[in-house]
Structures are given as structure tokens and as C-alpha cells.
């Protein structure tokens, strides 16, 4: 029989699942009447469901391995088509129009969650510089986010400085903190770097929590002003729309800057550093400088996002900057595909918006959210979008340039 091995495997898996779920789904002890209810029908259902699902899964796997070469070709064709201006320009235009129309058709709540999601787009793209491009696993990215938020809140509280002054200032202060963390961890790689950055974020959070005189401790800072709009007083709804457009504009700026950085001399040096540190140095790249710029630029975006976050919520306290936030931002980068701008944007929107839209499902939403993440990692283990190497246009002059032409500096 053609499918005998698959059937056999599915049968074993079904038996295993029946055994596993037996205690919770079959036996029910009724303590009032002191009887045990045996729900054998559940056992049968579990068995059948596990058998069918596992069989389908194995058929899929078999099909996939058979068609693997085709799939690879298909993938690259898709990527090529995606990078064709004729294909993506109308697509971008459509997204642009949707983004412009959105706040006028959506509810206040919708606009607010979209604004939050856009803050995470910025955070994801910023962390993407560190993790995706330069390969510096930073588990304490939220620290720079906190630095930005507290810069705005405290400088505004003490000196009355406005949003537009503090947006670049917050970014700069965060960049400075990026350098501060960058220096001691220059020699570290991988896991060790992750632990040190994690510790840095925890130190910062604990300082903010306990140094009451400086940061007002766990009670946080409230009444942070929203960004001004040429001195006009905005209603709550209007300011939400304003905030939304502000973030759309800043996200576009972020994408623009990061795209350009990625395809520059510096971006190439970062990727080379990620691929092989020693060979990268042997090619004349200054490791210290490359790592520090990656940290500082990554932190800049976290700082900016922090200022925006403080301005949006008008209240911040250390509880907003826990390790869970760092993990969330890292999840965005990993799910999106390391080093891919489009992937990170999609992942940020999905990770922040999915739990909100799944609210209708009540208590099951986090289970479904978790399942969605796991499925994504099974089907696309390298992230939603695998960045393809850039194709360069090169001049094939006639006659081709001879090597003799190269002069020395």
C-alpha cells in the first residue's frame, strides 16, 4: 500500500494523544454525587482527530520534500517580482491611500491600537539594525525605549521643553546610552552579549523604580503633554488622529533611513560583521566603529519611539519597560525575518494587532495567538520575508575594464 508508513505513524500518534489526554478529557470526577463519569466519546474523537490531522500533515511534508526544488525557484521568482517597480509601486500607492483614509473611517479605539502598532514598527526596525543587520543579539532594547520616554517626561516636567525639541533630544540621549552600553560589550558575542544587555535593561528599570527623587518611582510621571499642533488645542479624538499621522510620517522616515543605511557601505560592513567577524576585520572594517554605530543607531530609534510613547499615553512608569517588551520587539524582528524591512513591518502589525482583534474570542485569544506564532515558525522558520541579496547593476563596458586599469590610492 502506498501510504502504509504514513498511516502507521499517524496511528501511533493518535494512540499517543489518546493516552496523553485520557486523564483530563475522559475521566471526570463528580465530587457531589461521588461518581466517576467516563466520557469515552471524547477519547474516540481525540483519536480520530489526531489520526486525520497527523496523516494530512505527513502527506503535506511528503509533498513538500518532493516539490522542494520547484518551491525554491518559485520563491526567488516571487522575490524578483516583488522588487520590480511595476509590481510594487501600485501596491505601495494602495497602502499609502489606505493609511491616509484609515483615521477617517476607523473608530477612536482602532486609531489608538494602530498608533501603538506603528510605535512597535519603529522599535522593530530599530532593533533590526542591531540584531538583523549587525547580528548583535540585544535583549535589553527596551532600555533605550525607556530612556527616550523618560527623557521626554522628565525634561518636560523640569524645564518645560516641548515635544518637538525633545523628540530629537530623546533620540540623541538614547543614542548616547547606546554608546554607553556598546563600549563595555564590544568584545562580547552571541549569548554573552545578550546577557549583558539584558542586565543593563534590568539595572535601568530598577533604578527608575527605586530612585524616587529622580524618576518618581513606581508611581511614574503623569500629565505628559501631547505633541502640540501649531498651538491649537485639539480634542482627544483630533489629537489621536494627529498622533497617528505623526507616527505614519516617522515610520516612513524610519523605513527610508534604514533602507538607505542597509544598502550603503556601512550596512554592508554590518552584515559582514554578522557573517564573520574576523574576516570582516581582515577586509579593513573597524569592528569597534561598526558595532558602536549599530548600537547607537538602533538606540536612536528606540529613543524616538519612547518619546512618542510618552506623548501618546501621557503617563509612563517603569512597568511599561519590562523584559517582556524587549522579548516582544525581538519576536517582531525574528518573525519578520532578520534584516528584512517589509518583514519586520508586517510582523510588528501582526504581533500588536492580532491580540487586539482576537479579543472577540475572549479567553482563547492568547492560545490562538501563541498557536499562530508557532505555526509561523514551523512554516517560515527564517521569518516571514527572507531578505534576498541585493542585485547590483554593473557596467559591462566594451571592452571590459582590464585589471591593469586599477590604480593605487
Amino acid at each position: 500500500m502506498k501510504y502504509f508508513p504514513e498511516l502507521k505513524k499517524s496511528f501511533v500518534i493518535a494512540l499517543w494523544f489518546m493516552l496523553l489526554t485520557f486523564p483530563i478529557l475522559v475521566i471526570r470526577v463528580n465530587t457531589i454525587e461521588n461518581i466517576v463519569v467516563w466520557r469515552w466519546i471524547n477519547l474516540a474523537l481525540i483519536g480520530i482527530a489526531a489520526f486525520v490531522l497527523s496523516f494530512l500533515w505527513q502527506l503535506y511534508l511528503k509533498h513538500k520534500t518532493a516539490a522542494a526544488p520547484d518551491a525554491a525557484a518559485h520563491q526567488s521568482a516571487l522575490v524578483r517580482r516583488m522588487s520590480d517597480p511595476k509590481f510594487y509601486r501600485p501596491f505601495l500607492l494602495l497602502i499609502g491611500i489606505l493609511a491616509l483614509v484609515f483615521p477617517f473611517v476607523a473608530s477612536h479605539y482602532q486609531i489608538n491600537i494602530m498608533t501603538t502598532a506603528l510605535i512597535y514598527v519603529m522599535l522593530g526596525l530599530g532593533l533590526n539594525i542591531e540584531v538583523g543587520l549587525a547580528g548583535l543579539l540585544d535583549l535589553g532594547y527596551v532600555a533605550f525605549y525607556a530612556v527616550g520616554a523618560y527623557s521626554y517626561a522628565l525634561l518636560n516636567y523640569h524645564f518645560g521643553l516641548g515635544f518637538w525639541t525633545l523628540l530629537p533630544a530623546g533620540a540623541l540621549i538614547a543614542a548616547f546610552f547606546g554608546l554607553l552600553v556598546g563600549f563595555p560589550v564590544l568584545r562580547l558575542r552571541g549569548d554573552y552579549l545578550a546577557i549583558v544587555t539584558l542586565a543593563f535593561a534590568e539595572i535601568l528599570r530598577l533604578v527608575l523604580e527605586n530612585w524616587n527623587a529622580f524618576s518618581f518611582g513606581p508611581s511614574g510621571i503623569s500629565n505628559i503633554p501631547r505633541p502640540g499642533f501649531f498651538g491649537i488645542d485639539l480634542t482627544l479624538e483630533q489629537s489621536a488622529v494627529y498622533m497617528y499621522f505623526l507616527l505614519v510620517a516617522l515610520c516612513v522616515l524610519t523605513v527610508f533611513v534604514i533602507h538607505r543605511l542597509q544598502h550603503s557601505r556601512i550596512g554592508r560592513a554590518w552584515v559582514a560583521l554578522r557573517e564573520d567577524e574576523l574576516a570582516c576585520q581582515a577586509m579593513g572594517v573597524d569592528k569597534t566603529r561598526a558595532k558602536l554605530t549599530a548600537f547607537a543607531l538602533g538606540a536612536t530609534w528606540a529613543g524616538m519611539a519612547g518619546v512618542l510613547f510618552a506623548a501618546k499615553t501621557t503617563f509612563i512608569n517603569p512597568a511599561s519597560f519590562t523584559f517582556l517588551e524587549s522579548a516582544m520587539i525581538l519576536a517582531i524582528v525574528v518573525l519578520g525575518g532578520m534584516g528584512s524591512i517589509v518583514g519586520v513591518i508586517i510582523a510588528a502589525l501582526a504581533i500588536i494587532l492580532l491580540p487586539e482583534y482576537l479579543r472577540v474570542l475572549g479567553d482563547y485569544r492568547m492560545i490562538l495567538f501563541g498557536a499562530a506564532l508557532i505555526l509561523m515558525m514551523i512554516f517560515r522558520p527564517r521569518g516571514l520575508v527572507t531578505p534576498a541579496g541585493k542585485t547590483y547593476e554593473f557596467r559591462c563596458a566594451d571592452p571590459p575594464p582590464a585589471p591593469e586599469e586599477k590604480g593605487r590610492p
Binding site: S264, I266, M283
Partner: protein
């Protein structure tokens, strides 16, 4: 003629073990020299000292630029030495596997270009020109080693021999005066080794290079090198033209062992 690269009395000790012990070496401009010796003789250690991966315990590594200026390379950072004109390849290929073939060579242009963060973001005409120049020069190099057609493939997808050649092109992109090749023919079949020999001769002439190569393929070494240095247990046991080395009893002893040893076992 003043040698381009001079190594004087170089010692590299790891704890109590001297991997290199008072090694002298010199390469004239435009010369191809070879460094040979049995496994563990300290050849790669010497390369690592020359390129700044290790800081030598004592001794001098001097680079005499054509202008007459002499730079001491000891203790400089790896990238600084590359910028001064000493480039290398690695014994176990260390390409940037996730980048395209062209991008691998483009990285080599790093020390010969200068645009920074602001240049990358605003892309003024100077940066555009520089980027254009990086792409063109890198592509020309790829053509010269016969990999022009694979420019946009991932480096990790190249066949083994091509990966070795790509490493050479990547090192050449840094515009070196001295090129250090660590076993460029390792794992190549005789046909590929032959092609490599032709390629190295061609590149040496085209780029006015001095080449120092570590190699176990004696035919390649004897054909290419004008001058051979032999290391054993971190010490230089012989130097000279291929013919002298071939008949040197100390070298034969180091490679084949002494007859007494064989009898004792």
C-alpha cells in the same frame, strides 16, 4: 633593493610554548615568496602575527612603503594593517556566505572608501560616485578571476574552487601591496591548481603585488616562488631559491624524518 615586508627576529609565545622563535623573513616588491613547513610549524601563526590577529611577543614586522616611509605593524589593529596594504586569505575559507559574490568583493573596498552615516542617508553625489566606483571595481575584479557570471549568486552556493578564488578577489579589492595566501590550493584537484598558478601569476603582474603563500603543494610552490622560507617548530630551518630548498638536507629531514628515527621505532 629594500624589501617591502620585513620580519625581524619575530617571537610569538603562547604561555611557555614558542610557536614562533626568532623568525626572519623578507619579501621584495613584486616578488612571490612561499612559506613551507610541516603541520604545526607555525606558518599560520606567522600570518596571524603579520595581519594583526596576534600581537607578537617580540621582534619587528616592518612595512616599507614605496615612498620610503617605514611602518611597524606590531600591535596594530587588524583593519589598520589591511588599510596599510597587507591583505590575506584564510586557510579554512571565511567568506560571507549570506552575501552575494559581488557584495563579498565590495566589502573589500571598505578601507578604500569613506562615506559615513550621513553620506549613506542623504546620498550626496560624492557618495553615489563612490558607490558606483565600488560596484564597478568589484565587478572588474570578479571578471578577472572568472566569476563575473556568478556576481549575484550567494557566496555559499559557489563551488569550492571558486570560493577560494573569490577569497583572493576579496583580498585584492583592498588594494594590497602584499598579499598573504594561506593554502590557496588546499582541496583543489591538479587541474584547478594549474589554473590557480596561472591566475596568481597574472594577478601578481597586473596589480604589482608581492605575494607570500603558505602551501603544501610542492609543485605549485616550486613553480611560483622565487624565494622559499622553511619553518619547523617555529624556527626557520632554511631559505633560498626552489632548487636549493629541494636539496637541503634539513628540509628533507623535517619533512620525511631521519632514518635513525625510523629505525628506532
Amino acid at each position: 633593493m629594500k624589501p617591502l615586508l620585513e620580519v625581524k627576529n619575530l617571537t610569538m609565545a603562547f604561555g611557555g610554548i614558542k610557536a614562533l622563535d626568532g623568525v626572519h623573513l623578507h619579501i621584495a616588491p613584486g616578488q612571490i615568496a612561499a612559506l613551507i613547513g610541516p603541520n604545526g610549524a607555525g606558518k599560520t601563526t606567522l600570518f596571524n602575527c603579520l595581519t594583526g590577529i596576534y600581537t607578537p611577543t617580540s621582534g619587528d614586522i616592518l612595512l616599507n612603503a614605496p615612498g620610503g616611509k617605514t611602518r611597524r605593524l606590531n600591535g596594530l589593529k587588524i583593519n589598520a594593517i589591511t588599510a596599510l596594504g597587507v591583505a590575506r586569505t584564510f586557510q579554512n575559507i571565511r567568506l560571507f556566505g549570506g552575501m552575494t559574490v559581488l557584495e563579498n568583493v565590495m566589502i573589500g573596498r571598505h578601507p578604500r572608501s569613506s562615506s559615513g552615516i550621513l553620506g549613506a542617508i542623504f546620498r550626496p553625489p560624492a557618495t553615489r560616485r563612490e558607490e558606483r566606483d565600488i560596484v564597478d571595481k568589484s565587478y572588474a575584479l570578479l571578471e578577472s578571476i572568472g566569476l563575473g557570471d556568478s556576481a549575484n549568486e550567494l557566496a555559499s552556493n559557489l563551488p569550492y574552487g571558486a570560493q577560494r578564488r573569490l577569497e583572493i578577489a576579496r583580498a585584492l579589492a583592498t588594494e594590497p601591496r602584499v598579499l598573504l595566501l594561506d593554502e590557496p590550493a588546499a582541496g583543489m584537484n591538479p587541474q584547478e591548481t594549474n589554473e590557480l598558478e596561472g591566475l596568481l601569476t597574472r594577478l601578481q603582474a597586473a596589480h604589482e603585488l608581492s605575494i607570500l603563500l603558505i602551501e603544501h603543494d610542492m609543485k605549485l610552490v616550486m613553480n611560483l616562488a622565487e624565494n622559499i622560507f622553511v619553518l619547523d617548530y617555529g624556527e626557520e630551518i632554511a631559505r633560498g631559491a626552489p632548487q636549493e630548498i629541494r636539496n637541503n638536507p634539513a628540509v628533507i629531514k623535517a619533512y620525511l624524518g631521519e632514518e635513525d628515527d625510523a629505525e628506532a621505532q
